[in-house]
Point group: C2
Chain length 198, copies 2
Amino acid sequence: MSQLTFWFELASTYSYLSAMRIDDVAAAEGVEVVWQPFLLGPIFAGQGWNNSPFNIYPAKGAYMVRDIDRIASGRGLPFAMPKTFPANGLKAARLALIGQSEGWIAPFARAVYTAQFRDQANIADDDVLIAALEEAGQDAARALKAAGDQDVKDRLKQNTNSAKSLGIFGAPSFTAADGELFWGDDRLEQAVAWAKRR
Amino acid sequence: MSQLTFWFELASTYSYLSAMRIDDVAAAEGVEVVWQPFLLGPIFAGQGWNNSPFNIYPAKGAYMVRDIDRIASGRGLPFAMPKTFPANGLKAARLALIGQSEGWIAPFARAVYTAQFRDQANIADDDVLIAALEEAGQDAARALKAAGDQDVKDRLKQNTNSAKSLGIFGAPSFTAADGELFWGDDRLEQAVAWAKRR
C-alpha cells in the first residue's frame, strides 16, 4: 500500500486543517498516512525567526486567519484562534510520539487541535493534554510520565532533524516514499495522488 | 458584471501561473478581471527583506521551483527559472500601466511572463520588453517613451500603496469589490467564486 508521511506541528493552524481530513482523503485513494509530529520552532530559528511568521509579519497573520476562516467554514469545521499563539507544542508533540508507537496518534492529535482551534485552549497546559489523552482513550497519567522519557525527547529531536533534511520549512508538509515534498493543506490532494502513483 | 482585481508583479513566479489562466477562469464564471500591476520590492522592504524570500530562505526557494514545475506541467505550461531572479520588474510594470489605459495589458503581461519563465529572459532588458510590446501589437518606441512619464511613475507608486492598504503582502493577490483578499494562484477559483456571489 502506498504511504504518505504527514509532517505536522501541533501549534500550527494550517496543520489543523489537514489533520481533520487527511485520513479520509488518503483512504479514499487507498493511501496509508504516517503521522509524523515535529517542531517548527527549531526550523524557524534556522531561518532567523524567534516567533511565528504570522506574528512577525502582521499582514500575513491577518490574512492567515481570514483564509482559514473561509476554508474551515466551507468544510463545516469550527475555527477560532487560541488566546496564546503560537502555543508551545513541545509536550503535545512528545505525547503524539508515544501515540505513534501505540496506535492512537491521530485521534490524540485531532483532540489537541480541536481543543486549540475550536475551544481556544492552550495546548501547553497539562489539563488540556489530559483531556485530549482521555478523548483518545488513554491513561493520561501514564502517558504524561512516558512523555518525559529521554528516548521520546530524542525521537522528537530526530524527527525535526529529519524534517529539515527533507527540505521541510513549514507545516503541514507531506512527503512520499521517493522524498517528493508538498507543503500546505492546499497541496494535500496533489500529495496523495503522487503517493498513489508510486 | 462582477469584478475581480488581479494584483500581479511581473517578476513573480506564482503570478505567472495566474496570468496565464485568470482570463479564462474568470470568464467561465462571468467575472471581469481588472489587471493591476504593482511592485513587491517596496512591500518586501517593509517586511525587512531586500531580496525575494525565495532567495533569503533557500529551502522555500527550492520548494517553490519544484511546486511550480509540478503545477505548470499539470497545466501543459512551460516553466524554467530565468538566469536573473528576481528580475527588476519596474519598467515592465510601468509599461503594463500604459497597457491598462489602452487595453493591451493582458497580452503584454503574458508576453513578458513567457519571455521570462519559458525563455529565461531578463525582463529588465529593453530588447525583451520591445519584443513583448510588439507581440501585444504595440509601437514599442512610443510605449517605452511613455513609460518614462511622471504620471505613469506616480500611478505605479499609487498602485503599490493601494496594494499595501488592502493588506497585500505577496503576489499574485486577488481582491473583490468588497475588499475581500485572496493570496496565491491556488486561491484563484475561490476568489472568482467570491466575486461572482457579490
